[in-house]
Amino acid sequence: MCGVDYLGSYRLLGLLLILGAAFFTVAFTANRLLSRRAPSAGKNATYECGIDPVGGDWAQAQVRYYVYAYLYVLFAVESVFLFPWAVTYALDGFGMVTVVEMAIFVAVLALGLLYAWRKRVLSWT
């Protein structure tokens, strides 16, 4: 048991990232050097289907998007608990009790989701 072996698998990921960075540097440099440039004010203006852009660039996002982001957090945390459970529940020393524990966990979350569903939070208005 030594540290080199454990980190070996991750070292490759690091290398992949470094090579990726090199790839981007080369690609962007090549683009800068080789592309033709004819800048004009029209090109840099905001795209508006051919007419002149009017007003600011910012449209306020609907609050309903935020609800989905919150649900995502909720379920990301839930899956994070589900993953270790999924690989171990069949091992020795776990079994029925572990499954019931997870069932309760999921049921509580599902109850919350059901409440939101009944309150019509989930329906797109």
Partner: protein, 443 residues
């Protein structure tokens, strides 16, 4: 089936440096070639579906078309919109592409091979939490789209980016949950071990009788497979779920303001993501790089050496064909239908299915009392769900009876307008009944 060539988790992480380099460059090359090929393949398949030849000019049967397009795109003038947030505008496509590349690094393309005399697994790397890496990369890849949309400083990209992000996070949840059942069956989160676990058919006890099920998980875990594939289509923003790019509403979605190399990177990331989700689907549900059953029965060496790369690629291409097929067949969904489908159908079914799988697995090992208690519990739950399922509300058709609009309204035709009989029909009837005079004639 011989399992000796199947790599273990310990086989990873101590390659010689030049093997690592070959593998990393190989992964890059594989992904870029797959991307270029997939674009050609998609255009060709969609073309055939629409009774036209598709690209056929550049290279043999148009094979080099996407390469030509890609090179041209990458060397176009780079435009930075005036209102854009310069740094973020630049980082966004880079984030997308890096995440797409990284996610593919743990895909097992084959078993043990020898490269210039070195025995090494045909896979860049594997981790005990490999599949989580794909999910993490998927989660980070969303940043590319949100930030790209935000940094453009324009309304269409902002709305497109937000839509896209909301869609991707919704389907990321469904995807993560659909994978749980695979973890439960394989008992591991490492991709090479999941492939190894599907090598042999498993003995399953279903209601007291023992049956040998085929090893591939798409049979045993069919609901998971379906949910995974549907959410994979949603996650990659492909038709019929390509709402972020709904041209008729949002111009181009989050990449409206992007051009040249930065746009090419978004494009690359999208196609790599498609390849990645197909590859993950192959790995998790379709037996990974192992040859399908009829081949292995008459050819024992099908899973040795470099052949697995072929099986893997063929499986990925078949899945990619389904992506293209969906695009060629289905119309785009409405956004609210799409979100409703994700949250109200995929996620709940998934949760119930996970608990069902766990219950059946545990019941198979338990004694009879516990087993009947579990099955009884499921039966009660099922009956409960059926009984308390909300009845469909009867919608009364809106009345179009003529009504009095207030004085001074804009004049509109009456709603109960009846088309008067055409004078031409009369003439035809008249001609048909010419010999004998009819009463209508007199009118």
């Amino acid at each position: 089936m011989n399992l000796a060539e199947s790599p273990k988790l310990e086989d990873f992480g101590h390659d010689v440096w030049w093997i690592i380099l070959i593998k990393v460059v190989g992964i890059f090359a594989f992904l870029v070639v797959m991307t270029l090929f997939t674009i050609w393949y998609e255009r060709k398949v969609v073309g055939r579906m629409q009774h036209r030849p598709g690209p056929n000019r550049v290279g043999p049967i148009g094979l080099l078309q996407s390469l030509a397009d890609g090179l041209k795109l990458a060397f176009k003038e780079d435009i930075m919109p005036k209102l854009a947030d310069k740094a973020v505008f630049f980082i966004a496509p880079v984030i997308s592409t890096v995440c797409a590349f990284t996610a593919f690094s743990i895909m097992p393309l084959g078993g043990m091979v020898s490269i210039f005399g070195e025995r090494t697994p045909l896979q860049l790397t594997d981790l005990p939490v490999a599949v989580l890496l794909v999910l993490a990369c998927g989660g980070l890849g969303i940043y590319g789209i949100v930030l790209g949309g935000w940094a453009s400083g324009s309304t269409y990209p902002l709305l497109g980016g937000l839509r896209s992000a909301a869609q991707m996070i919704s389907y990321e949840v469904a995807m993560g949950l659909s994978i749980v059942a695979v973890f439960m069956t394989a008992g591991s989160m490492s991709t090479s071990e999941i492939v190894a676990a599907q090598a042999n058919g498993s003995q399953q006890e279903i209601f007291g009788s023992t049956v040998t099920l085929p090893g591939w998980y798409f049979l045993m875990l069919l609901p998971s497979f379906l949910i995974y594939f549907i959410s994979a289509v949603g996650e990659t923003n492909r038709a019929p779920f390509d709402l972020p790019e709904a041209e008729s509403e949002l111009v181009g979605g989050f990449h409206t303001e992007y051009s040249s190399l930065k746009f090419a990177l978004f494009f690359l990331a999208e196609y790599i993501n498609m390849v990645t989700v197909s590859a993950l689907c192959t790995t998790l549900f379709l037996g990974g790089w192992r040859a399908p059953a009829p081949i292995t029965t008459w050819w024992a060496g099908a899973n040795e050496g470099w052949w697995p790369l072929l099986w893997f690629t063929v499986k990925v291409l078949i899945l990619l064909f389904v992506f293209v097929w969906l695009r060629g067949t289905l119309p785009r969904l409405r956004y609210d239908q799409f979100m409703r489908f994700g949250w109200k159908v995929l996620v709940p079914i998934n949760l119930v299915w996970i608990l069902l799988v766990a219950g059946v697995r545990v019941a198979a090992n338990a004694d009879n009392t516990v087993r009947y208690a579990i099955y009884g519990g499921f039966a009660v739950l099922l009956v409960g769900i059926i009984m308390f399922w909300p009845a469909k509300k009867q919608v009364e058709p809106a009345s179009i009876a003529p009504e009095k609009l207030p004085e001074g309204s804009f004049p509109i035709p009456p709603m109960d307008l009846v088309v008067p009989p055409s004078p031409r029909t009369k003439r035809i009837e008249h001609a048909a009944a010419a010999p004998s005079a009819t009463p209508e004639q007199g009118e």
